[in-house]
């Protein structure tokens, strides 16, 4: 495979035949690449592809029980990285090579002020003469990563900062000693969309300014397209393809790359209006080559008749919900949190509505109240003729028959100690249900077939399935009772892209087939845009805007909505020829 790249002089980083194995199981094998100074390389792959391990290996922090082979050389550092002792590597870490991690909250010491944490990296490498100088420099660095009021922020603890600010602190820390190489491991995955774009911009600006080499690890192709010049595609520990962004994303040579690309591009649909999956990727045309501008994703989709909003199937009025958090100390009082505040809307039968918002916006709380799983503190919500507010479990019985729910975490939503058959049959066991054991078995098998799982799956346990398969089981359970309303809470956000498309297609198919009213919560605007007719945008427990999907996307009325739309990276847009 040709590198397709000319290096001027010595490369910044040269990795040859990197192999990582746990015992006899290879996790990464035969990975070779090199990076020029200041180059920005994206390392993409799905979970389990070995991309994070690669970064950890370069830093010399692989867990002891993993075996490491191959070699890596960093410019200006004589010893080979993988065989250099910990002492030598310590000199490099934080100084020549530094890293930004995925989850900034857990990556920062909760008991130490952030200024001190930034200063520490300079003190360790003695790049500043005194503690005071380190503190000053830390404040400067916090300013350079655009944290408002950096002096005050330096004296704050991590929990007092927002997620985006924390990640900025991590970046400041990583760049404090002007490293040659920055490893960024999914640095924005844990962040909200609006914050994600800002942080990406920051990283991009900083490395360009400093001429730092960037190895950017992500599962998100849109992000790579936004950040990097070159990309390495990893699949199951092997490099399947590498090359310039333009080449790879327009003419993927490897079927896997093509499939990944197709599945990631939520704006592209096949003839049935369904997303491309691994199986249908052959028919996928990368956006850059598409003749029509990718602004009409709905064009291919079958026409859906949006019913006029007559009498609402779901009507919420002035909903509010306050929580008491768990007591932390034996004699302390319990903190109070306001999750919902004056929320009202109406949804007609047959509508597909998406609720969009960032973490903490109250969208999940709202959904749980509508599903009768949580009680509102104020207001009322009538769902399928049942008043949820103040209802007893018995009052909710009709609602339970009408409404079912699919959750985000495909592992957590299935009881690990129950067989799949029992899980799917659970809604059939309610009092008053007339189905006998044989009837239930038949229903389970019918549902398994419907969601595309083998009949043998019935006797297995959840942990024997992949994430996508588990989500199918969840869907099967939700629909076994033939509800009229399906509520989905981030149903694909925990899934790999290639699986995500399949599950979204499945939901779309079933919604059509059962003529369901769909209410879906997501932080991912593209997912909502693909599935829903109408969008409710939430922020801090309130509804900021609601309206027709396309209208909201194209002409957002509220500035927050506008920011949200502008921040979300879509592959098609990232790859579209720059205007």
């Amino acid at each position: 495979m040709s590198e397709g790249h000319e290096f001027h002089g010595e490369p910044l980083l040269r990795v040859e035949n990197l192999g990582i194995a746990a015992g006899s199981t290879p996790l990464v094998s035969e990975l070779s690449f090199s990076m020029a100074a200041g180059e920005r390389i994206g390392l993409i792959g799905e979970s389990g592809s070995g991309k994070s391990l690669t970064a950890t290996a370069l830093l010399g922090l692989l867990p002891e029980e993993l075996a490491l082979t191959g070699s890596a050389h960093l410019r200006g550092f004589a010893p080979e990285l993988f065989t250099a002792g910990d002492k030598a590597m310590r000199g490099l870490r934080g100084d020549e090579i530094s890293m930004v991690f995925q989850e900034p909250l857990s990556a920062l010491n909760p008991l130490m002020k952030v200024g001190a944490q930034v200063a520490e990296v300079m003190l360790v490498h003695r790049t500043v003469p005194t503690r005071a100088a380190a503190q000053r420099r830390a404040v400067e660095l916090l300013a350079s990563v655009k944290i408002p009021d950096p002096a005050q922020a330096a004296g704050a603890y991590p929990h007092q900062l927002s997620g985006g600010q924390r990640q900025r602190v991590m970046i400041a820390m990583a760049l404090a000693n002007d490293p040659q190489l920055l490893l960024a491991d999914e640095p924005t995955t844990a962040l909200d969309v609006t914050v994600q774009s800002q942080v990406l911009e920051l990283i991009s600006a900083q490395v360009r300014e400093r001429g730092t080499g960037l190895l950017f690890i992500t599962h998100d192709l849109a992000v790579v397209a936004n950040m990097c010049t070159r990309v390495l595609v990893l699949n199951k520990g092997r490099l399947v393809e590498s090359g310039d962004i333009d080449t790879i994303f327009t003419a993927p040579a490897h079927p896997y790359t093509r499939a990944l690309l197709a599945a990631s591009d939520i704006s592209a649909t096949d003839a049935r209006g369904r997303l491309f999956t691994v199986d249908t990727a052959a028919g996928y045309v990368p956006p850059a080559l598409r003749t029509e501008v990718a602004k009409e994703p709905a064009a291919g989709a079958p026409e859906r008749s949006v019913r006029p909003a007559g009498d609402g199937l779901i009507t919420a009025t002035n909903l509010g919900r306050t929580y008491h958090r768990a007591r932390i100390r034996a004699f302390g009082p319990r903190p109070v949190v306001k999750a919902l505040d004056g929320v009202g809307f109406s949804i007609a039968a047959g509508e597909r509505v998406g609720i969009v918002g960032e973490s903490g916006s109250g969208k999940t709380t709202l959904l749980r109240i509508l599903a009768g799983l949580d009680a509102p503190s104020t207001g009322s919500a009538v769902v399928a003729g049942t008043e949820v507010a103040g209802a007893s479990e018995a009052d909710l019985a009709p609602l339970r028959r009408q409404l079912q729910i699919v959750f985000q975490d495909p592992m957590g939503s299935l009881d690990p100690r129950m067989k799949v058959a029992d899980i799917i049959a659970e809604p059939l066991l309610v009092p008053g249900h007339k189905l006998d054991a044989r009837g239930r078995e038949a229903a389970v098998h019918r549902m398994l077939g419907l969601v595309g799982l083998e009949p043998e799956s019935a006797s297995r346990y959840p942990h024997q399935f992949s994430g996508g398969q588990r989500q199918r089981i969840s869907i099967a359970r939700a629909l076994v009772n033939r509800p009229s309303i399906l509520v989905a809470d981030e149903p694909v956000s925990a899934l790999d892209v290639s699986v995500r498309a399949q599950v979204l297609n499945l939901i779309a198919d079933l919604v059509d087939e059962y003529a369901l009213t769909l209410l879906m919560v997501s932080h991912d605007l593209s997912v909502v845009r693909h599935l829903c007719d109408r969008v409710i945008v939430m922020k801090d427990g309130r509804i900021v805007e609601t309206g027709d999907t396309e209208q909201i996307y194209n002409n957002p009325a509220h500035p927050y909505t506008a920011q949200l739309v502008a921040s979300s990276l879509e592959l098609a847009e990232e790859l579209a020829p720059n205007p």
């Binding site: 749980r368 909710l396 939503s413 009881d415 659970e426 009772n481």
Partner: protein, 275 residues
């Protein structure tokens, strides 16, 4: 997959516990001598072919008494743990599922009960009902209730927040059914660990009570009692103290190891491996 070989503590603990259980069961059908038979001429004898572990100050066979003592140890452990499980678990699950004032009140109550450790309760009970195995068991059991209530509540909260319980509720499952089908099976592991640890504590508490003369009354050969009786012979005939001392230490260690082993075994973090 879970592999018992990865948790040697579990195997060791289970082996020791099985050994004690075997000794206790054996004592029902066979002991070398009558453990209560006083034999004055044969007092304070060292180990011999006849008396494998020797005899005590009244000439009773130490091996027989150790075997029967295992029975008392298990009895105390099983009953006190049983009391704690039967009261603590439902209360904890109830508090975790009901939340609100119920949770606040029961957990407050548990906190206050926690301020009465087993030994203190046992001393009070001994004062009230007289020293007996029953009052010792009741005190140890009652004192262990808050531990179980807390574990059960914490586990229940965790399970109740799991989406599969929300799914079950969305499927109109009644609370009792959710408790039985989802909560209980999923907190059983934690409860087992707690049982094991409480068992070890019960053995120690019974020994301490017997030492204070507030535990098992004579002539029943509880290990703690035997240790207490041996006190006068520390200088002259240490064997009388060594055997019950070893038995207690072994039992406590066995149950602690079992608890540790269970914890490792059930811990998803370790089970998943390092990949």
């Amino acid at each position: 997959m879970r592999n018992a070989r990865r948790t040697p503590a579990l195997l060791a603990g289970a082996a020791i516990v099985a050994l004690i259980a075997a000794a206790a069961l054996l004592s029902f059908v066979f002991t070398p001598f009558d453990p209560l038979q006083v034999n004055a001429p044969a007092r304070l004898q060292g180990p011999s072919l006849q008396h494998w572990l020797g005899t005590d100050n009244l000439g009773r066979d130490l091996l027989s008494r150790i075997l029967v003592g295992a029975r008392i140890t298990l009895l105390v452990g099983v009953v006190s743990v049983g009391i704690a499980v039967l009261i603590g678990t439902p209360v904890g699950i109830w508090a975790g599922m009901k939340r609100g004032a119920v949770e606040e009140l029961t957990m407050r109550g548990a906190d206050i009960l926690l301020a009465f450790p087993a030994l203190l309760l046992a001393i009070m009970f001994a004062a009230i009902y007289g020293a007996s195995t029953v009052s010792a068991m009741a005190a140890i059991g009652l004192a262990s209730v808050p531990g179980f209530a807390r574990v059960a509540r914490a586990g229940t909260l965790q399970v109740m927040n799991a989406e599969y319980v929300l799914a079950a509720r969305a499927a109109a499952q009644r609370p009792v059914r959710i408790a039985a089908r989802h909560v209980l099976p999923n907190i059983t592991g934690m409860l087992l660990i707690q049982c094991s640890v409480t068992f070890a504590l019960a053995v120690l508490a019974e020994a301490a009570l017997s030492f204070l003369g507030l535990g098992t009354p004579p002539p029943v050969p509880s290990w703690g009692r035997m240790l207490q009786e041996s006190q006068q012979y520390w200088g002259t005939f240490p064997a009388m103290a060594i055997w019950p001392g070893l038995a207690i230490a072994l039992a406590v260690m066995g149950f602690n190891l079992l608890g540790d082993g269970l914890r490792d075994w059930l811990d998803p973090k370790l089970g998943r491996g390092k990949a």
